[in-house]
């Protein structure tokens, strides 16, 4: 089964390119033929001349980023983008969600959906669509939301996973909070699941774990691609009966998104080290899993700086009323978790620490809340890696901050004239704020 990715805007296209690089390197690297073939089939289309063409659609409202991507991949020789799989215009969306959603989206709907349709037709069997974009700008966010809407209308029975990159808290774009609020509120209705990476978090990983001195966007994008790749590459699941799972996105959804009010997913991946230290590092499954579990409950995104003081509440025997004791300060309650283990001796890993009911919200039985995938094939040169995809309160604070700042700005009506001139009214803003406050409230009460 194949996945089609739709890369939207500068960020979506830059991250998407790194993602295909990671996947192609990982698949080529390994001696495991079955894994490589499954991965290739999933993400690439093999042409008559044995070339690998990414199953990807590139969309942007200005041409520079896409031309660069196509040129770069054309040179590498390992894989490339399809010749007619991209669409760009001359003039960007000006960081304006309304411009992207109300003007550019509808204007180019036909052409864009044509390209998507062609790409989907190249798949023997469609596993799902992954749309990649940022929320701060105008194209990724605005056009991205509109395209997601079109995808939902055209493929009502397919799985749609939106991968979002949230901007640095201290501003890349001044109106980023408006754009983010509008995007998230709309996507919540359209998307099956929303997987989020925050620039601030990834930046810290680059600085502290990977020891990169002058961090560029390329470094950030590589980390995001590594984490996303580690989720989407083939694995053996509970349902796949000994062969690589044929329905990765569907299984992701059914494991993690059991309720439409809770769609925000985050990823933790350990270990993450600089390539120079990799040769000297030895990891064991108990060590990795212990850290990962604490990272989950203490809401830490990295192996360093974990707060070991945060503990799960003590176990309540069956039948007793579970009070709000699981809502301890600092404790990150999960709705559901998916653990993916890749590498050597994977069957020896002891994962019961993740199945404990105290980690989870009381209204979902713990054995439904936890799932595991694994494969003995190591990922991207890491002998062992453990990935946790989590539907939990991790994103609650960043979401709350984003909505708070946007609301403050909205209260003074700053910049609103820039949106109303393209057709987004104050009522639309209020609707978006209301939906997101609802999401925040739901997650707070887990």
């Amino acid at each position: 089964m194949s996945i089609v990715t739709v890369q939207l805007g500068q960020c979506g296209n830059q991250v998407g390119q790194e993602l295909f690089e990671v996947i192609s390197n990982d698949a080529n690297d390994t001696q495991r033929k079955v894994y490589s073939e499954c991965s290739s089939e999933r993400f690439f289309n093999e042409t008559a001349n044995r070339e690998l063409v990414a199953r990807s659609v590139l969309i942007d409202m200005e041409p520079k980023v896409i031309s660069q991507s196509i040129a770069k991949t054309g040179k590498s020789g390992k894989w490339r983008y399809g010749d007619r799989s991209h669409f760009s215009q001359k003039q960007g969306s000006g960081n304006n969600w309304a411009n992207g959603y109300c003007v550019h989206g509808p204007r180019h709907e036909e052409v864009v959906m044509d390209i998507v349709r062609r790409e989907v037709e190249h798949c023997d069997c469609l596993a799902g669509i992954v749309a990649m974009m940022s929320v701060a700008g105008g194209t990724g966010s605005g056009v991205g939301t509109y395209v997601t809407q079109c995808l939902r209308d055209t493929y009502p029975n397919s799985f749609i996973l939106n991968h979002l990159t949230w901007p640095y808290g201290t501003g890349e774009v001044i109106v980023q909070n408006y754009n983010s609020v509008l995007t998230l509120s709309h996507l919540y209705q359209l998307s099956d699941a929303i997987l989020v990476h925050e620039n601030d978090t990834v930046h810290k990983i680059c600085a502290q774990l990977m020891n990169i001195k002058h961090i560029s966007f390329r470094d950030v994008n590589k980390v995001i691609a590594h984490q996303l790749g580690s989720v989407l590459q083939p694995a053996l699941t509970g349902d796949s009966h000994g062969i690589y799972n044929r329905n990765p996105i569907g299984e992701l959804m059914s494991s993690l998104v059991c309720h439409p009010e809770y769609k925000l997913l985050s990823v933790c991946n350990i270990p993450q080290v600089s390539s120079s230290s990799m040769a000297y590092s030895m990891f064991t499954w108990p060590g990795l899993l212990k850290h990962l579990r604490q990272m989950l409950i203490a809401n830490s995104k990295m192996e360093e700086g974990i707060d070991w003081q945060v503990r799960a509440p003590s176990f309540q025997p069956e039948g007793t009323e579970r009070t709000g004791s699981h809502r301890r300060p600092g404790f990150n309650t999960s709705l559901a978790n998916l653990l993916i283990l890749r590498g050597k001796d994977v069957n020896d890993a002891e994962i019961s620490g993740f199945q404990h009911p105290s980690l989870y919200t009381p209204w979902l039985p713990a054995d439904e809340a936890f799932s595991m995938w694994k494969t003995p094939v190591p990922f991207n040169k890491y002998e062992k890696s453990a990935i946790l995809v989590s539907n939990s309160q991790t994103l609650l604070r960043p979401l709350d901050n984003m909505v708070g700042k946007a609301w403050n700005m909205f209260a003074s009506r700053a910049y609103i004239h820039q949106y109303t001139k393209f057709g987004i009214s104050e009522e639309d803003f209020l609707d978006s704020f209301t939906s997101l406050e609802q999401v925040i409230s739901s997650y707070s009460q887990l």
Partner: protein, 461 residues
């Protein structure tokens, strides 16, 4: 690739415009060694035929012939088509009314025609750059008339105006009238205004000259690198005002750099208007440029990157005389060129933030752009555009100078004689300026007060 059209009006506008074309050519020839017409060039030049004979996307307007004639005889003459030039003989006599009403109506059709032609040659027209001065008659009066025409004929195209404001010691007596009358048009019809003050330019020029003549060892400035230098360009010997005009030309080059060259975080012109203008009338942006020069001695380490960021917020590098650090920032944009990474940018923003007062609802009001191609002669550069309430003081000074003349009705008969001009124009203009100052003042008043966060919506659980 989007295109921009430059409209230069009046003596100042045309002189600055010429410096801009000269430096633009220098920059592109530096980057584009093969001389082939490429995407980057297409933003300002159009390809006329197969040789690299590009034609500038420009319209030149002047009501006296001196400056435009010089252009036609200078080395840039090959690049202009005579139809792009609209001239008259006698000038506007430093009278805004003559420029705006008399010439405005006389040349309206011709101007609209030329603008349409220039626009038609563009695949995707993104922006009009209007360059003029505020103190005279043509640049100020006819220039603002052209601005109105641009809004009428091309309402969807962004209008960025570079206005040179007169200093207090300006030798044109009526410059306060001209400036205030023009201000009203700028407030109503421009998307963004980049005000530049002559005095600041003079100060920068003097600072550089002082530096290069100070005779200290290692203080030799690298050739071509001073922001005032036109060396390496097409034109020959330097003329007076060239140094100052080169600064403005560099400002325009830097603003458009992300639209012309690639980078890891592109910043288009329409993004500038979107992010820096929270309320429609408050669109006056304080520009500051660094570095002003690069030292030639390679043994002296190039000024640290962080120093460049600090400099951008120092008064020495601003193009108008105002004090943003003691007023309120509504928004700020940083356009970085050269080999600078996002981590350098973030580090410097974190460092500078505590010293700069931002309005309560926009505490992180930074818009950033990274372009990989540095300007000629430098390894990196920074352009900061700040929407700051400090422009209020410039406007208040202008209003004072206006009032001094207006109270005595000095020179007003020259204006009222002109067809189309009436007393009402003066009162409207001054009241528009006053209400603009008032809007800035109201925001200023929130500066030291701790503004509470707006109460959030409550969800029933």
């Amino acid at each position: 690739m989007t295109q921009s059209v430059v409209v230069q009006v009046g003596q100042c506008g045309n002189q600055v415009g010429c410096r801009f074309w000269d430096l633009a050519l220098r920059e592109h020839s530096h980057v584009n060694k093969k001389g082939i017409y490429d995407e980057a060039l297409s933003s300002f030049f159009r390809n006329v035929d197969s040789r690299l004979m590009s034609s500038l996307q420009a319209v030149l307007v002047d009501m006296e012939e001196g400056v435009v004639n010089e252009i036609l005889q200078g080395p840039l003459r090959e690049l202009f088509d005579t139809t792009q030039l609209i001239t008259d003989v006698s000038g506007s006599g430093n009278n805004w009314a003559v420029g705006h009403w008399t010439y405005g109506s006389a040349y309206r059709e011709q101007i609209v025609d030329q603008l349409r032609r220039a626009a038609e040659h563009c695949d995707c027209l993104q922006c009009f750059f209007l360059i003029h001065s505020m103190g005279g008659g043509t640049g100020s009066g006819l220039g603002t008339c052209v601005l109105k025409l641009l809004e009428e004929e091309f309402p969807e195209v962004c209008r960025i105006v570079t206005s040179v404001y007169p200093s207090a010691e300006d030798d044109v007596v009526t410059s306060p009238y001209n400036s205030v009358l023009a201000m009203r048009e700028l407030t109503e019809h421009a998307d963004c205004v980049l005000p530049v003050e002559n005095q600041s330019l003079v100060d920068i020029v003097n600072k550089i000259k002082h530096m290069s003549h100070s005779g200290k060892p290692g203080s030799v400035i690298k050739k071509d690198s001073a922001i005032i230098s036109g060396q390496g360009g097409v034109s020959g010997a330097e003329k007076p005002f060239d140094a100052m005009n080169n600064i403005i030309a560099n400002l325009l080059l830097n603003i458009t750099s992300s639209a012309r060259f690639e980078g890891s975080l592109n910043m288009d012109l329409n993004e500038i208007a979107m992010n820096l203008v929270p309320f429609p009338r408050l669109h006056y942006l304080v520009p500051s440029l660094t570095p002003l020069y690069t030292l030639a001695d390679v043994n002296i380490p190039t000024r640290r990157l962080d120093q460049m960021f600090t400099d951008a917020f120092s008064k020495d590098h601003q193009l108008i005389r105002a004090d943003p650090k003691h007023s309120l920032y509504l928004a700020c944009a940083l356009m970085v060129r050269g080999n600078v990474q996002v981590s350098d940018l973030r580090r410097n923003i974190e460092r500078l933030k505590p010293m700069l007062p931002f309005v309560s609802w926009n505490q992180e009001g930074w818009k950033t752009g990274l372009c990989s191609v540095p300007p000629v002669g430098h390894s990196h550069s920074l352009l900061a555009l700040a929407n700051n309430t400090c422009v209020k003081s410039t406007f208040m000074e202008l209003r004072d100078r206006f009032t001094k003349l207006y109270r005595k009705k000095a020179h007003m008969h020259h204006y009222l004689h002109v067809d189309g001009m009436e007393q009402g124009c003066f009162t409207e203009a001054i009241s528009s300026l006053s209400s603009l100052i008032e809007e800035y003042s109201q925001l200023d008043a929130t500066k030291d007060r701790l503004m509470p966060d707006a109460a959030r919506l409550n969800i029933a659980t």
